[in-house]
C-alpha cells in the first residue's frame, strides 16, 4: 500500500525531500523495511529506488535543487519526469496560484499524479505537502487538492501544512493562510499542521542549534512526520506491520498539531477531540500511558476509549532509542489559528492588498466566506468541553 507524495511550492518540496530522506534512512536494516520502502518508493527497471512523488512549483529553482540533491546522494532519487515547474512563480499571491496557475496547468499535474498512482499496487492515499503562507504552495496546493479529491473520491487525502512564523516576512501570509485553510477544510480528510515557530523552538531549546536554518527546521518537521508515517503496530494489526499507513482515526476534519511529550504536566491541557500516541523504540510495551486515557482530557461526548489510540513499535526510529509522538486534535491550535484569522481580518477590514487578489479573480465574497468558515471552526473548538 503506497502513498503518493504531492510536493507543492518551495516549502512543500523542501520538507518532503527531508521526509523521504528520513524515511529511507530509517528503513535501512529494519524488519519493516519492505513495508516502509514500498510505501514511499518503488524500484525502477534499473533497480534504483525511486520516490513516489510529484514535484510541483511555479519556479524552477527549488525543484532543480531537490532533483540534483536526490540524484547525488545515490540512495534514492526522484523520477525523471515526475516534476513540473514554470518560470515566473506566484508572487506570494494565493489568488494567482488558485485562479491562474492551478487551472492553467491542471491537466499536466493530474497526469503526473495519475502516473504515480497507477504505478502503485494499491493506493493508500495522497500526501500533499505545502505551506500556507506563500502563493504556490497555498493557492496551487488548494486547487490541486480539489482536483485530486474529484478524481480520487475514495482515497485518503492528507494535507501536511507548514504554518509560517507569526512574525513572518510575507506581509499577506495571513490572507493566504486563511484562504487555504478555508478551502482545504472542505476537501481534505486530515490536515496535519506544523508551525515554524514550534519547530524553531525545538531546534533552539531542545537541539541547541545556534544558527537555525530552514534546513534544520525542515529536518525537525520531517522527523516528526516520519515517526507518524512509518509502520507501527496499531491496535488491530496483530503483530504484523500494517501496510496501511493512514488508519489514523480523525473523524471531524480539523487541523491537528503535533508536539513531543512523554510527560504530563498538570491540568493545563487543552480539551482534545482525539489523540494518537505513537511510541517507538525500547520498552514500548512497558510504557505507562494511562494518563492519556483520562476522560478529563477529552470532550464529554466521546469516551476516552473512542478518542485515544495508541500505536507501538519496538523498532527505534531515526536513531532515537526511544521516541514518542503525539498527534492531537485539540484546542492546542486554537490560539495560533485565532491569531492568524484576527490579523487577516484586521488587514481585510482596511482592504489592504485586496486589489492584488481581486485582479486574479478572487472577490470580497470569497474572502468573507473563508473568514466565516474559519470562525465557525474556531468557535466549535472553543466550545469543546
Amino acid at each position: 500500500m503506497s502513498v503518493v507524495t504531492v510536493q507543492l511550492g518551495q516549502c512543500g518540496n523542501q520538507v518532503a525531500h527531508e521526509l523521504l530522506d528520513v524515511v529511507w534512512s530509517d528503513a535501512q536494516k529494519k524488519p519493516s523495511r519492505a513495508a516502509s520502502c514500498e510505501r514511499f518508493f518503488h524500484h525502477n527497471t534499473h533497480g534504483e529506488l525511486v520516490a513516489r512523488a510529484v514535484l510541483i512549483d511555479m519556479e524552477p529553482k527549488v525543484i532543480n535543487q531537490s532533483l540534483s540533491r536526490a540524484a547525488k546522494c545515490g540512495r534514492w532519487r526522484y523520477g525523471e519526469d515526475s516534476h513540473f515547474s514554470q518560470k515566473q512563480g506566484s508572487g506570494n499571491n494565493w489568488a494567482n496560484g488558485y485562479c491562474v496557475h492551478g487551472p492553467r496547468h491542471r491537466d499536466v499535474v493530474e497526469e503526473l499524479v495519475r502516473r504515480e498512482v497507477e504505478r502503485c499496487d494499491r493506493l493508500a492515499g495522497l500526501l500533499a505537502m505545502m505551506s500556507v503562507a506563500g502563493g504556490t504552495g497555498s493557492g496551487v496546493g488548494a486547487y490541486v487538492t480539489q482536483c485530486l479529491r474529484d478524481i480520487y473520491p475514495t482515497s485518503f487525502i492528507l494535507n501536511h501544512l507548514t504554518w509560517p512564523y507569526r512574525t513572518g516576512e510575507v506581509i499577506v501570509q495571513n490572507y493566504n493562510s486563511v484562504l487555504t485553510l478555508a478551502h482545504l477544510y472542505q476537501l481534505s480528510d486530515a490536515i496535519l499542521v506544523h508551525e515554524n515557530d514550534t519547530a524553531h523552538r525545538i531546534c533552539s531549546q531542545l537541539l541547541n542549534i545556534k544558527h537555525i536554518s530552514f534546513s534544520d527546521v525542515n529536518k525537525v518537521i520531517a522527523h516528526q512526520l516520519g515517526s507518524v508515517l512509518q509502520p507501527a503496530l496499531t491496535a488491530d494489526s496483530h503483530g504484523v506491520y500494517s501496510r496501511n499507513p493512514l488508519g489514523i482515526d480523525w473523524q471531524v476534519r480539523p487541523p491537528a498539531g503535533s508536539g513531543r511529550s512523554t510527560s504530563l504536566t498538570g491540568s493545563s491541557f487543552n480539551t482534545s477531540l482525539a489523540n494518537l500516541l505513537i511510541l517507538r523504540g525500547k520498552d514500548v510495551y512497558s510504557a505507562e500511558t494511562g494518563g492519556f486515557e483520562d476522560p478529563a482530557l477529552y470532550t464529554s461526548w466521546l469516551s476516552s476509549k473512542e478518542a485515544f489510540s495508541l500505536w507501538k513499535s519496538p523498532v527505534s526510529f531515526n536513531k532515537y532509542e526511544k521516541s514518542a509522538t503525539l498527534v492531537s486534535n485539540s484546542q492546542a491550535l486554537l490560539s495560533p489559528l485565532d491569531d492568524m484569522v484576527g490579523k487577516a481580518w484586521n488587514m481585510f477590514a482596511s482592504r489592504a492588498y485586496i486589489h492584488q487578489y481581486m485582479k486574479y479573480g478572487i472577490s470580497e465574497e470569497d474572502f468573507l466566506d473563508s473568514f466565516t468558515s474559519l470562525e465557525q471552526v474556531i468557535s466549535s473548538y472553543r466550545q469543546l468541553c
Partner: protein, 414 residues
C-alpha cells in the same frame, strides 16, 4: 394465434425454469419441475405434495417459523401445519389455512395445488427470494465480514443539544472512515488472493503444496457456486415480469373457477364456514356478511385469499357474474333469487366431480337456465350494490356524528 400461444407458453416454461434454477441454487430442496407449475395452475392433485414441500423448505430456510424437525423428517400433515403457520407469519391469510383438519376442507370448500401456487407467488412478492439469496451468499462467501454490532450510546429520546449533534457528526465521520478502511482491506485481500492464485498456478506441476491446493479447490467450488447463484438471479430478474403476468393468469383462473372440487366427506355446508372466512375483513364486509344468513347454503367454493374476495366485490360493478354462485347464495339477498338459485345449485350438486365434461354440460344443455341465472345474478348484484351504498352512507353519517361530538377532532374524509 395458436403459434403465439405456443410460443407464449414456451416462454413461460423458460421463465419458470429460471425460477427453479434460482431456487435450487439458493439451496431450496426439492424444487418441482417447470411442468408441474403449469399443472398446478389448473389445480392438479399430483403436484400438491411437491408444492407443500417446496413451501415448507422455503419457509424453513428463511426461518420464518422455526422448526426443530427437518423438512425431510416432517410428516405430511405436520408440514402442512408448518406451512400454514409460516404463511400466516408472512401476512398471507387464505381460508384454507384456517381449517381445523390439516389441509382438507370442511363443508365442501375445495383446495388444490393452485392455492399453493398462489401462496408461493405471495412469498416471492414478499421478498423471500432476496432473503434466501442473502443467506446463501453469506454461507458461500467466506470473505464476508460479519457486521460488528456498534454500540451507539443513543438514548431512547432524541436530544437535540449540541453535544448529541457533535457526537452524531463524529459518528458519521467515523463510519465514513471505517467504510474506507474496509474498502482498502477488501482491495488488499484481492491483491493477496491474486498473489496466492498466481503462486499456486506457477507451482501447479509440483504436488508439494497439495494441502493448500485442496483448500483452494474448496474455495474455488464455493466461488463457482456463488457465481452460479448470482447468474441465476440475474437471469431471473430479467424475465421476472413474464412470471408475474403468468401468475396473474393463475389468479384469474382461481377466481373464475371452475375449480375441480375435492370430494368432501359431508355436505354439511355450515354457515360457520362463512364466518371463518370473515377473519380480518373490513367492517362493511362484516356488516354485510353478518346479516342473517339463510340456513342451508350449499357453498361449494369459498374464495381463497382475502384479497380475492375484495377484488370480487370491487369488480362487482364492472364484470359479470364473477362472484360465482356461492358468494351470492350465502348472502341474504333478495329472497326470491336465493330460492331460484338454490334450486339451480341443488341441480348442479351431483355434478361435483373432477370431470371437465360434466361442468361443461351443466352450462351447455339448458341454455335458458344459464341465461336466466345471468339475469338473476345481475339483478342481485344491482341490489347488493345499492345496499352497500346505503350502508356506506349510513356509516359515514354515523362517523361524522361521532367525530362531531368529539372535541378538537376534525374528520378529513379520504
Amino acid at each position: 394465434m395458436q403459434r403465439a400461444k405456443v410460443s407464449g407458453s414456451v416462454e413461460v416454461k423458460q421463465v419458470i425454469g429460471a425460477l427453479c434454477r434460482l431456487l435450487a441454487a439458493a439451496g431450496v430442496d426439492p424444487v418441482p419441475v417447470p411442468e408441474n407449475f403449469r399443472r398446478a395452475k389448473f389445480g392438479g392433485g399430483a403436484e400438491e405434495d411437491q408444492f407443500w414441500q417446496l413451501l415448507g423448505s422455503i419457509l424453513q430456510k428463511t426461518a420464518v417459523v422455526s422448526s426443530e424437525v427437518d423438512l425431510q423428517l416432517r410428516g405430511a400433515s405436520e408440514n402442512r401445519k408448518f406451512v400454514a403457520a409460516g404463511l400466516w407469519q408472512t401476512g398471507y391469510h387464505a381460508d384454507w389455512m384456517y381449517e381445523r383438519q390439516g389441509g382438507h376442507a370442511e363443508g365442501g370448500r375445495s383446495f388444490s395445488s393452485r392455492d399453493l401456487l398462489l401462496a408461493l407467488g405471495w412469498l416471492l412478492a414478499a421478498g423471500t427470494l432476496e432473503k434466501l439469496l442473502t443467506q446463501r451468499v453469506q454461507q458461500l462467501d467466506k470473505t464476508l465480514l460479519t457486521p460488528v454490532p456498534v454500540n451507539l450510546h443513543l438514548s431512547s429520546e432524541l436530544q437535540f443539544d449540541s453535544a448529541s449533534l457533535r457526537r452524531l457528526q463524529w459518528l458519521i465521520g467515523r463510519l465514513r472512515h471505517q467504510g474506507r478502511i474496509l474498502l482498502s482491506m477488501l482491495q488488499e485481500q484481492t491483491r493477496l488472493l491474486h498473489a496466492v492464485f498466481s503462486a499456486s498456478l506457477s507451482s501447479a506441476a509440483s504436488s508439494s503444496c497439495g494441502q493448500s491446493s485442496v483448500v483452494l479447490k474448496e474455495d474455488l467450488v464455493c466461488v463457482q457456486q456463488l457465481c452460479d447463484l448470482l447468474e441465476a438471479y440475474l437471469s431471473w430478474r430479467q424475465v421476472e415480469d413474464v412470471f408475474w403476468t403468468w401468475m396473474d393468469s393463475v389468479v384469474d383462473c382461481h377466481l373464475t373457477g371452475p375449480v375441480i372440487k375435492r370430494p368432501t366427506h359431508a355436505q354439511s355446508g355450515s354457515p360457520g364456514v362463512c364466518h371463518h372466512g370473515t377473519w380480518g375483513l373490513d367492517k362493511p364486509d362484516d356488516m354485510l356478511l353478518g346479516l342473517p344468513v339463510d340456513t342451508h347454503t350449499s357453498t361449494p367454493t369459498q374464495e381463497g385469499p382475502r384479497r380475492g374476495r375484495g377484488d370480487v366485490k370491487d369488480r362487482g360493478g364492472g364484470e359479470k357474474g364473477r362472484a360465482g354462485p356461492p358468494f351470492v347464495s350465502s348472502l341474504p339477498s333478495v329472497p326470491f333469487l336465493s330460492q331460484v338459485f338454490r334450486a339451480r345449485l341443488q341441480a348442479e350438486r351431483p355434478v361435483r366431480q373432477p370431470r371437465a365434461e360434466d361442468l361443461h354440460s351443466s352450462t351447455e344443455a339448458p341454455e335458458l337456465k344459464a341465461s336466466q341465472a345471468v339475469q338473476l345474478l345481475l339483478h342481485a348484484e344491482a341490489l347488493l350494490l345499492e345496499r352497500r351504498d346505503r350502508q356506506r352512507l349510513a356509516n359515514r353519517t354515523q362517523l361524522q356524528e361521532m367525530i362531531g361530538s368529539l372535541d378538537e377532532l376534525v374528520l378529513i374524509p379520504p
